[in-house]
């Protein structure tokens, strides 16, 4: 049994983890950068330790300082949240060598899936289809051109160490491939410290459908069905829902097929704790493996709602060595859940991030409405981190009810002093294609190209 957990993260996910710990009677330690001194996770935790200046590289990414904090606070385990060090195998190793349990997959699993190119190879070995593409990383532009010739344009050049939708470039011909190849490598080096890239066929009008997986330390694995995350802007998810309208509407057998594929990959990687297997599905219902996210994800909340489970508590239980008490036949979706990510961005100014002081804050409530946020009236959103300030989740008995609750909740949500994406998301909820459940990853870009400004106003 853990007595104390250190939360190596900030913002809404740190609040989420602290809440789960409180319910399990586990004491919490928050770490924070100087600019986060007034942040909600610092207020909520039982103890809080300042670990450095505002830049993540001087605080939330400092393995040495986080471990020092864990040591002086005498914690049993560290929950890394998402982003930051959550998929850093070295960090997981260092924790274990200090006798501190890392709440996430084993470093063995992390190494098996160490980057996107390695994961592709593992998936293919497990008999799971992947988009046509390079065998592994592409080391020079000649090889890149050869791959593109073999698979045909358009292609995607992707950073092997990329994440959160970053580090990707499309190419439609040899000229843009060579240019994109070099740009992508430079950007990847700067953003991820790893210039490796691989190439995949670009699947047009694809649907991003991912499967939540959960495994215990004894090798028991289950999948918790899918989430449809096709509403994306520049490869960043904005709205997610479960079940997927594409699967429910047109390809019902995909749930079982893709679920099984996700489990095969998890088994091949000896995966433990929580993770997500991402796929792309084309208009004909063919699915292709993309990557594994080896951490709890932002949108885990919608899975929790339709299954009545607490995934963070399950993560903690698994890390404590408890066996998974769920079998695949226990997993049955009930109702429909939607999540809108609330970002401090100005939709009218190309989604420019808008940090600043929140003047008024009133979050929606009522039956079937859930808000996961760290923000409060008078809180100043710092400019140093990502712009997501909260998640709004609704659960309905079916998709229509979930959408009605989401519209109602978005209209109640008051945040002044900064710009947010709330009005933009309300416009999406009114869009006829979204309402019909007919949309792919090109949906949002098309909407933005059109008359959405009128809708918002």
């Amino acid at each position: 049994m853990f007595e104390k957990i250190l939360v190596a993260n900030r913002g809404e996910i740190a609040v989420r983890i602290i809440r789960a710990c409180k319910e399990m009677n586990i004491r919490t330690v928050a770490v924070y950068s100087e600019i986060d001194a007034n942040s909600m996770h610092v207020q909520m935790a039982d103890e809080a330790i300042c670990i450095g200046k505002a830049p993540s590289s001087e605080s939330y990414l400092r393995i040495d300082r986080i471990l020092s904090a864990a040591e002086i606070a005498d914690v049993d385990a560290i929950h890394p949240g998402y982003g930051f060090l959550s998929e850093n195998a070295h960090f997981a190793d260092v924790c274990e060598s200090c006798n501190i349990r890392f709440i996430g997959p084993s470093s063995r699993a992390m190494n098996a899936l160490e980057d996107k190119a390695a994961s592709r190879i593992l998936a293919r070995k497990a008999g799971v289809p992947t988009p046509p593409g390079s065998e592994g990383p592409v080391d020079n532009e000649q090889d890149g051109l050869a791959v593109a010739k073999r698979i045909g344009y358009p292609v995607m050049i992707k950073a092997i160490a990329g994440g959160g939708g970053r580090g990707m470039r499309q190419a439609h011909n040899d000229v843009s491939l060579v240019k994109g190849y070099h740009t992508a490598r430079n950007e990847a080096e700067k953003a991820f410290g790893n210039s490796g890239v691989y190439i995949e066929k670009y699947i047009e009008n694809s649907h991003h459908i991912e499967f939540q997986i959960l495994g215990d330390s004894r090798g028991s694995l289950v999948h918790l069905c899918e989430r449809d995350c096709s509403v994306q802007r520049r490869n960043q998810k904005l709205i997610e829902e479960t079940p997927s309208p594409l699967i429910e509407g047109r390809f019902k057998s995909l749930r079982k097929q893709m679920g099984k594929a996700a489990l095969r990959i998890a088994e091949a990687a000896h995966y433990t704790n929580a993770g997500t297997v991402e796929f792309l599905v084309d208009e004909k219902g063919h699915f292709y493996f993309l990557e594994v996210n080896k951490r709890i994800q932002v949108e885990h909340a919608i899975t929790e709602e339709v299954l009545g489970l607490d995934l963070v508590k399950l993560q903690i239980a698994i890390a404590m060595g408890e066996p998974l008490r769920l079998s695949q036949s226990d997993i049955r979706l009930r109702g429909h859940a939607i999540e809108c990510r609330i970002n401090a961005e100005d939709p009218f100014d190309d989604f420019r991030p808008c940090p600043g002081r929140v003047e008024m804050y009133y979050a929606p409530g009522g039956r079937g409405t859930r808000v996961d946020s760290h923000v409060y009236a008078g809180y100043t959103i710092p400019p140093n981190y990502d712009s997501m300030i909260g998640k709004l989740i609704t659960l309905g008995k079916d998709r229509n009810e979930a959408m009605d609750k989401m519209s109602r909740s978005l209209s109640e949500y008051m945040i002044t002093g900064i710009k947010t994406t709330i009005a933009f998301e309300q416009a999406i909820l009114q869009d006829p294609n979204f309402r019909r459940g007919v949309y792919s990853t090109s949906f949002l870009e098309n909407l933005l190209g059109g008359a959405q400004r009128e809708l918002i106003e």
Binding site: I51, G52, R65, S68, C98
Partner: protein, 155 residues
């Protein structure tokens, strides 16, 4: 009287160790006072119409920003802040004498304490020149990044 004149007066005050200066004229009155935290000023204008020059940009204490660099009579105390997270120790070992006490003179190179993290002892240097006036953390207590450890009167 303009900014140049006011700066000249403040300079004179500093050079001669004066702490108060007051000047009253028909259309203008100025009072300057130097204290521990730096010079303060109050500029009163009995006939606003006569004083038409725009006010110079002021710092938090109402004084034009430029003279803030003038060294005040009593220097502001400095704090030595922890550069890391760990356990604070006042001496190199349990039975040795403390590195510093109240009143100890330190130079930038003086080791003032140890902070232990992950079984590694780190010597923390003063990085300032002065006299220790306060010791802000108890021996063997945990410290976080940025936590004040000592207060120093600079010399």
């Amino acid at each position: 009287m303009d900014l140049k004149d006011i700066k000249a007066i403040i300079d004179l005050m500093r050079k001669n160790g004066l702490s108060e200066f007051e000047l009253e004229r028909q259309d203008f009155k100025i009072k300057l006072k130097r204290g521990v935290t730096g010079p303060m000023a109050s500029v009163e204008d009995p006939s606003p119409a006569a004083y038409s020059a725009p006010l110079p940009p002021t710092g938090a204490n109402g004084l034009p920003a430029a003279p803030a660099s003038a060294a005040p009579a009593a220097p502001a105390p400095l704090e030595i802040k922890s550069p890391m997270i760990g356990t604070f120790y006042r001496a190199p070992s349990p039975d040795a004498a403390n590195y510093v006490e109240i009143g100890t003179e330190v130079t930038p190179e003086t080791v003032v304490c140890l902070i232990e993290a992950m079984k590694v002892m780190n010597e923390i240097k003063a990085e300032v020149k002065g006299v220790v006036t306060h010791i802000l953390v108890e021996n063997a207590k945990p410290v976080e990044f940025g936590q004040p450890l000592f207060r120093i009167r600079p010399t």
